[in-house]
């Protein structure tokens, strides 16, 4: 019973922590969805630990806790992969922005040069 309460408490704290971060704009809603799902799965297993034993039975794993580790690994794997994906996307967009800024800078310098020339011509 104590372990059950402990796990439920951990899950609730996780959920509140994620929620607080969303509230304080430290993580976007979109990014928090997967974490929230993870925390809710922990909560579900905390409330009904029999689920994990039944699930292990279904997939034919003798030692039920190892299924827990497998699930945890898969979840983290998916999450890390998604993070890598997003990192590539961000890198690409960042590169694009830097190049764009450089091109804009060149156009502004050209404009300034032209303006100076025009002013000179006016003065002469």
């Amino acid at each position: 019973m104590e372990t059950r309460i402990f796990f439920i408490a951990v899950a609730v704290i996780l959920i509140l922590y994620i929620y607080r971060n969303v509230r304080k704009n430290q993580i976007s809603q979109d990014e928090s969805i997967l974490w929230m799902i993870g925390a809710i799965i922990i909560l579900i297993f905390g409330i009904w630990p029999e689920l994990i034993i039944k699930l292990a039975d279904v997939v034919g794993i003798d030692y039920a806790p190892s299924l827990l580790f497998l699930l945890g690994c898969v979840f983290l794997f998916v999450f890390c992969f998604r993070n890598s994906q997003m990192l590539s996307d961000l890198k690409e967009k960042n590169k694009e922005l830097i190049q764009d800024a450089a091109l804009l800078d060149k156009r502004i310098r050209d404009l300034e040069k032209e303006m100076k020339q025009m002013r000179k011509e006016k003065d002469d």
Partner: protein, 240 residues
């Protein structure tokens, strides 16, 4: 009194000239801003052929909602009083937008939504759209007590007092539909609807096509709404 039409465009080269003609003919008072969301076709050349159209050229693809938010920032910077969200795919009609704008001015409403569901308009709805819209309508009614018949409508007239804070929010939602409306109602803004006609799109693909995308959309939307609901309960973002 100035009004800006924000048209987010991603690969709409075929539709944009029709849209421009429509606006010039039926709503000439409105200024036009196209947000070119990194189109890969010749959208940008089409826009350049129309010197009276202002445009923002996003160097990377941001997606529909962030393209709209770029437009909001422009409207704030240039000091517009009202803006109209208008789709670049030829679905929306300028005459209807004008009707909504006049209504917003007369009744002094913060947000006017162009609804396809208030009257039968002959607009073709996909199955998911109909089911989803019905569901979100019920959710909005349940959470706020207000009836909004078309929460996914992209045709909206928005007042400066609303779009100025919207242009600044962190992580503008990927899909700004029912969740944003609920949040705005909670914050005390007035929202009204009038019936509009819309055309079925002429060229190109809808952004809510397929089966995976609508499911993802529904799921995210539920999550957003739950978040908005809890934010309201724990009450901090309320407007005085």
């Amino acid at each position: 009194m100035s009004v800006l039409m924000i048209i987010p465009a991603h690969n709409e080269a075929q539709n944009l000239p029709i849209v421009f003609d429509d606006i010039r003919k039926n709503f000439p008072e409105a200024d036009i801003l196209v947000v070119n969301d990194c189109s890969t076709d010749d959208t940008i050349d089409v826009i350049k052929q129309h010197p009276d159209v202002a445009y923002l050229n996003l160097p990377v693809n941001l997606g529909y909602s962030f393209a709209i938010q770029s437009g909001l920032k422009y409207a704030v910077q240039e000091g517009y009083d009202h803006l109209i969200q208008f789709d670049g795919d030829g679905q929306h009609l300028a005459a209807e937008a004008k009707k909504m704008y006049v209504y917003a001015m007369e009744k002094d409403v913060d947000i006017v939504i162009g609804s396809r569901f208030l009257e039968t308009t002959g607009y073709h709805h996909s199955f998911f759209r109909r089911v989803g819209t019905g569901l979100f309508r019920k959710i909005i009614k349940m959470l706020t007590g207000q009836t909004i018949s078309d929460p996914t409508s992209g045709l909206q007239v928005i007042k400066r007092s609303v779009f100025e804070p919207l242009s600044k929010i962190f992580a503008y939602p990927e899909f700004p539909d029912a969740n944003l409306l609920i949040q705005l109602i909670y914050q005390g803004y007035s929202i009204d609807e009038i019936a509009v006609k819309m055309k079925n799109r002429e060229f190109g693909e809808s952004m809510h096509g397929g089966i995976v995308k609508p499911v993802k959309y529904m799921f995210k939307m539920f999550y957003y709404i739950i978040m908005v609901y809890f934010n309201n309960i724990t009450g901090k973002k309320r407007r005085a």
